[in-house]
């Protein structure tokens, strides 16, 4: 058993290890949480303040922190972490590099999402600044900047929605750009990662909102979150089936690759138990067989969020490792 685990985690054609899977996982959470926060804000009755909503609060923490966390992981995974600034300085040296465009996206995404958070929590931030850094309110034209952002709120949110979706598909394109590995070089991968990113973003937001901001089934936005979850999980299932069938229709190495991935060994186990079982089928089943009363309990809300997160992390690990098992 230990030997097979060794083989599953260390093999010759493996270049990118688990830190990259965590990186892809947390970026997906950021992307999904941002999409959810916008959805909820757009659907909230105008009288209700977005800044008071536990789900939006949770998303506002997850969106920037997950990107920062992901980038820290990425930087320490470089062989030359102290040279990371070259990725920013030379990001346009190769205009068609997926990673280079990812760097551009992170910068724009981080700036715009910070601006959005500053706008939504303006009252709270102003109170904090007035108390701890009163001088900050007088300089830098900070209030003028705030007013300016408020004027373009609609446009800003529209741009952020697009950027969040781009971040979701980016995690897939990063791997699908590798035509050296048949399982990674699949056009469906960006969509699969976008969908699972949305799933994990919603789950993480619910988890944080319920544990830290005392959200429950009655919190506005919670019903919407659950209504979004269902079709997303179904589309993940559909995309996985399309991936498997599509690769079986492909060339020799496509078939060899998907067969090696799902029909035996450690990663097949991760796929069938973790991705399919825990991440997709179990949450779908739980949703079908339980009563409304159970569904509205915090225990149910938390456990289905945890199951989804485990499933999505399993998917990232499975695609990354099983993908690199079979070179083209």
């Amino acid at each position: 058993m230990m030997e097979s685990l060794q083989q599953a985690l260390h093999f010759d054609s493996l270049v990118w290890h688990w830190p990259i899977a965590i990186y892809l996982f947390v970026l997906g959470i950021s992307s999904g949480a941002m999409c959810l926060a916008l959805f909820i804000k757009w659907k909230l009755p105008s009288a209700e303040k977005a800044a008071k909503n536990p789900l939006i609060k949770a998303a506002a923490i997850l969106v920037p922190s997950m990107v920062i966390f992901g980038l820290v992981i990425l930087v320490f995974d470089l062989t030359k972490p102290l040279h990371f600034w070259k990725v920013i300085v030379y990001q346009f040296a190769n205009p068609t590099s997926v990673m280079g465009r990812g760097v551009t996206l992170f910068i724009v995404y981080q700036i715009t999402t910070f601006a959005w958070i500053a706008l939504v929590f303006r009252k709270e931030l102003e109170t904090l600044l007035a108390r701890f850094m009163p001088w900050a309110m007088k300089i830098l034209g900070i209030l003028w900047l705030w007013d300016l952002i408020a004027k373009v709120e609609r446009q800003l949110e529209f741009v952020i929605a697009i950027l969040a979706v781009l971040l979701g598909v980016y995690t897939g394109f990063l791997l699908s750009a590798l035509n050296s590995y048949p399982l990674l070089n699949q056009p469906v991968l960006p969509l699969l990662f976008l969908a699972s990113g949305l799933s994990s973003g919603i789950a993480a937001t619910i988890l944080l909102a319920t544990t830290f901001f005392s959200a429950n089934a009655k919190t506005s936005g919670m019903t919407l979150s659950h209504r979004l979850e269902q079709p997303i999980v179904w589309s993940e299932l559909a995309l996985l089936i399309i991936l498997i069938i599509g690769m079986n229709f492909g060339g020799e190495m496509d078939k060899v690759s998907i067969d090696a991935a799902i029909s035996g060994g450690f990663w097949a186990g991760v796929f069938w138990v973790g991705v399919m079982g825990i991440g997709i089928l179990l949450p779908l089943m739980m949703n079908q067989i339980t009563s409304i009363k159970v569904k509205h309990s915090n225990a149910f809300i938390l456990s289905s969020a945890v199951l989804t997160l485990v499933g999505v992390m399993s998917l990232r690990m499975f695609i990354l490792y099983a993908g690199q098992m079979t070179p083209a």
């Binding site: 010759d12 054609s13 270049v15 990118w16 990425l74 995974d77 470089l78 062989t79 030359k80 040279h83 990371f84 070259k86 990725v87 030379y90 990001q91 040296a93 190769n94 068609t96 590099s97 997926v98 990673m99 280079g100 990812g102 760097v103 750009a177 590798l178 035509n179 050296s180 590995y181 690199q324 070179p327 083209a328």
Partner: protein, 225 residues
């Protein structure tokens, strides 16, 4: 140096004409050429005896640290019965692709194709070690240099022997003349003449990488029945 500004401009003009007319020339592959050179290599597997003199010469010339290698000779399982058994030898090294996946994915431009020679090379200073190129290379010939921590691989001795006007170390050291190195744009070069005379194949050509490492197969077509 035997090139001049005049020749350079003439070459550029000719290249532009080729490009605009969309005509494939007589050479094997067409690319944008600035200085007229497009280096390639042939490994004649029928001549190779697997002595690995090339591997040692490469390490010495290019100061390749222990534990990694720019060049490997992979020996097949023995073919046939003793005493008539023999092996097939496969050279594992950079293919100097015209459409190089490693160059396409590099986020900083550290991985590049030298426009003067068509050689795929790495700016060690520019490389941050994200290993995207190592993952992208279908030939799995790239590695992280344990000393510089940058991605590295064969560069046809671009900064060593070639810079001194000599042939790459592997070619020089081969006792069998199994390696032919030269300019694919020069119709009179030994490599072009050899390519015209011998049956060649290129590894994983179907991936669209347009490798400039050509191989003379030590096999007769499809042999697994």
């Amino acid at each position: 140096m035997d090139y001049s500004r005049r020749k350079f401009l003439a070459g550029l003009g000719a290249t532009t004409m080729f490009a605009t007319a969309g005509v494939a020339g007589t050479s094997v592959i067409q690319t944008l050429v600035i200085d007229g050179k497009r280096y390639g290599m042939i490994h004649d597997e029928t001549l190779c005896i697997g002595c690995e003199a090339c591997v040692d010469a490469c390490r010495e010339t290019n100061n390749v640290p222990e534990g990694v290698s720019r060049l490997e000779i992979i020996r097949s399982e023995p073919r046939g019965e003793f005493p008539n058994a023999d092996y097939q030898f496969f050279r594992k090294s950079c293919q100097h692709c015209e459409d190089a996946p490693c160059v396409n994915v590099c986020p900083t431009g550290a991985s590049f194709i030298d426009k003067k020679t068509g050689i795929v090379d790495v700016h060690a200073d520019r490389c941050v070690g994200c290993m995207y190129c190592i993952a992208a290379c279908p030939y799995k010939v790239r590695y992280i240099d344990p000393v510089t921590k940058s991605a590295d691989k064969c560069n046809f001795c671009r900064d060593t022997n070639l810079a001194k006007g000599q042939l790459p170390a592997c070619v020089q050291s081969c006792p069998q003349q199994a390696l032919v190195f030269g300019d694919l744009n020069d119709p009179n070069s030994e490599i072009v003449k050899t390519l015209q005379q011998k049956t060649i194949y290129r590894y994983k050509k179907h991936l669209g990488t347009k490798p400039k490492m050509f191989r003379v197969p030590d096999l007769k077509g499809e042999i697994e029945l």
